[in-house]
């Protein structure tokens, strides 16, 4: 038989479709996790109280913050999972090289992030409905029309970007762990150690600085640039790590 030429992008695309199918059960976890988060949010994500003159006022705050947080964790776990041996080995039963394997993984994670992010933001509607019809919310709305289009768009994009970013971190951690299980121990130790050290020196812990670099960026376009570049960096690093891994040892 004569040799077939091979097209990298076609392989990546086919692998991506295959992975969507093969990993689709991650989306059932997504649904359960978000429902759970909504359930937890029904008591309010924060509250404020006030008392005087024989009257008490209690304000409960509701938002999809918890749903978003849970979805971020889901993204992290999903990303770490697909770096483990069984998942990496599947590709080698067919046509692949390590770069296409990672690229199709990344495409899959991006899709998962979009689905996870959009559903997380929209979960707020479900929260409001359950609260209003079943739990007798006394609504006080003027701050946040939940579907003010601009807010909705910004919320969606920012949430999706956060989730993809976290996926890239998870993928990177998973890739490191494939080199050596030691990394799983080393990273948390480094993290905690640096915080302690900074605490003793009276400096702001480096972890806080890193977090505020993203979480307190108030310019939307700057935020997009920051997260996109960071995501690309993490994915690139992961690809180069996984590019040297032997399979089916």
């Amino acid at each position: 038989m004569s040799l077939s030429t091979v097209n990298t992008s076609k392989v990546v695309k086919q692998q991506y479709i295959l992975k969507l199918k093969a990993n689709f059960d991650a989306f059932s976890s997504l649904v359960w996790i978000q429902l759970l988060a909504i359930l937890f949010s029904l008591g309010g994500v924060a509250s404020q109280g006030f008392q005087s003159d024989g009257m008490s006022v209690s304000i409960k705050y509701f938002s999809a913050d918890m749903v978003i947080a849970f979805t971020m964790i889901w993204g992290l776990v999903t990303a770490i999972t697909i770096t483990t041996k069984p998942y990496r080995y599947y590709d080698f039963s067919f046509v692949t090289n390590r770069v296409t394997s990672s690229l199709s993984n990344i495409l899959y994670l991006c899709t998962a992030s979009v689905i996870g992010g959009v559903t997380a933001v929209m979960a707020k509607g479900l929260l409001i409905i359950i609260g209003y019809f079943f739990l007798d919310f006394q609504l006080l709305d003027y701050y946040s029309q939940p579907f003010h289009v601009r807010d909705f768009l910004i919320g969606n994009i920012a949430t999706v970007l956060y989730i993809i970013f976290i996926c890239s971190i998870g993928y990177f951690i998973g890739a490191l762990a494939q080199i050596s299980k030691l990394f799983i121990a080393v990273i948390p130790v480094l993290f905690v150690g640096s915080m302690l050290l900074d605490g003793m020196m009276g400096r702001e812990p480096i972890a806080m600085k890193i977090l505020s670099f993203y979480f307190q960026e108030s310019s939307f376009s700057l935020f997009v640039v920051k997260t996109l570049i960071s995501t690309v960096l993490f994915f690139a690093a992961s690809i180069s790590i996984l590019n040297r891994m032997e399979v089916r040892k």
């Binding site: 038989m1 004569s2 040799l3 077939s4 030429t5 091979v6 990298t8 392989v11 086919q14 692998q15 479709i17 295959l18 199918k21 093969a22 990993n23 689709f24 059960d25 069984p86 998942y87 080995y89 599947y90 080698f92 039963s93 067919f94 046509v95 692949t96 090289n97 390590r98 770069v99 296409t100 590019n243 032997e246 399979v247 089916r248 040892k249």
Partner: protein, 300 residues
């Protein structure tokens, strides 16, 4: 064209050298049997060829490319063994579809026919199959992919005799219609004798022997007779194997360098001459010592 070129290939794990300066090459459109004892490095070699693992030193080229991370090699090669893994949520028919979407030469009709012939349930799951059925399914994928380099590592593990026969027959028929380079590593050389063209024998991590099977059939000759006579006859010859049968009878396998007259002479000296099958020969060649298992029981 040489599909595989391997020179001084070495692979060590920690301090043990599994493959040691292995050198050989394999021509296009041949069926080669990879033979050797358990643990000698056959699977390691095949995994290097498939691009799964990297060599420690030495050179290896498949389709004139380094196989590790080569998309070309991956698209034109398939490695079939019993450890082939597929995503667990996929049903069997979905696995066939996946293979079809990635392998350029995949023949779905052929795959489906084989699939139904061996009575697989399309909605079944790969990790639920019995050992024999797993091997059969993996073999179907190997055959239907029509990959220019098709590697089978112990493909008949767990298969019953009928399935094995069917597999060899299907392999041969398809090979004749759509020629490709095939490497089979197996312990059942005796079953493969009609299938193979070449034999590559690995011993001590090295290329011990790489010959067409026809030559291998003529390579050695078995001599059986009175102990002394045999010893005489084999004195200056390459002896592959010796075994005592009964009180005074010795069976020896020697390299066949005898001329017609010498053979005639041997027969007159009451030496029984038998041919040695490639399978038996390989066993003798790869034997650590020249004795047999019976020695374990000697002092009891």
């Amino acid at each position: 064209m040489k599909v595989i070129e391997c020179s001084n290939l070495t692979k060590s794990y920690l301090r043990k050298k599994v493959l040691n300066q292995l050198t050989f090459s394999i021509e296009e459109n041949t069926i080669t049997g990879l033979i050797g004892k358990n643990g000698v490095g056959k699977t390691t070699l095949l995994k290097i060829l498939a691009g799964y693992i990297k060599q420690t030193s030495g050179e290896i080229n498949v389709f004139s490319e380094k196989p590790f991370n080569s998309l070309l090699v991956s698209a034109n090669t398939i490695f079939v063994d019993d450890q082939m893994s597929f995503p667990s949520p996929l049903q069997l028919h979905e696995i066939l579809q996946a293979a079809g979407s990635l392998y350029p030469n995949w023949d779905m009709t052929f795959a489906n026919r084989l699939f139904h012939y061996f009575s697989f349930d399309p909605k079944h799951y790969h990790n639920r199959l019995s050992k024999g059925k797993t091997s059969t399914f993996n073999a179907i994928i190997g055959l239907a992919s029509r990959a220019p380099l098709t590697i089978f590592d112990e493909p008949t593990t767990g298969m019953d005799a009928a399935a094995r026969r069917d597999f060899y027959r299907a392999l041969l028929k398809d090979y004749l219609t759509y020629p490709r380079t095939i490497i089979i590593s197996s312990h059942h050389l005796e079953e493969l004798e009609n299938l193979l063209e070449d034999v590559l024998l690995i011993k001590d991590g090295n290329n011990h022997l790489h010959l067409p099977i026809e030559e291998l059939k003529e390579q050695a000759i078995g001599l059986k007779g009175a102990e002394e006579t045999i010893l005489n006859w084999t004195k200056d010859r390459e002896v592959y194997y010796k075994n005592q049968i009964g009180t005074n009878t010795l069976y020896a396998v020697v390299r066949n360098e005898f001329s017609e007259q010498e053979l005639q002479l041997a027969k007159e000296n009451e030496i029984e001459i038998t041919s040695v099958s490639p399978s038996d020969l390989c066993v003798y060649l790869t034997g650590e010592t020249k004795r047999g298992i019976d020695d374990v029981f000697i002092d009891r």
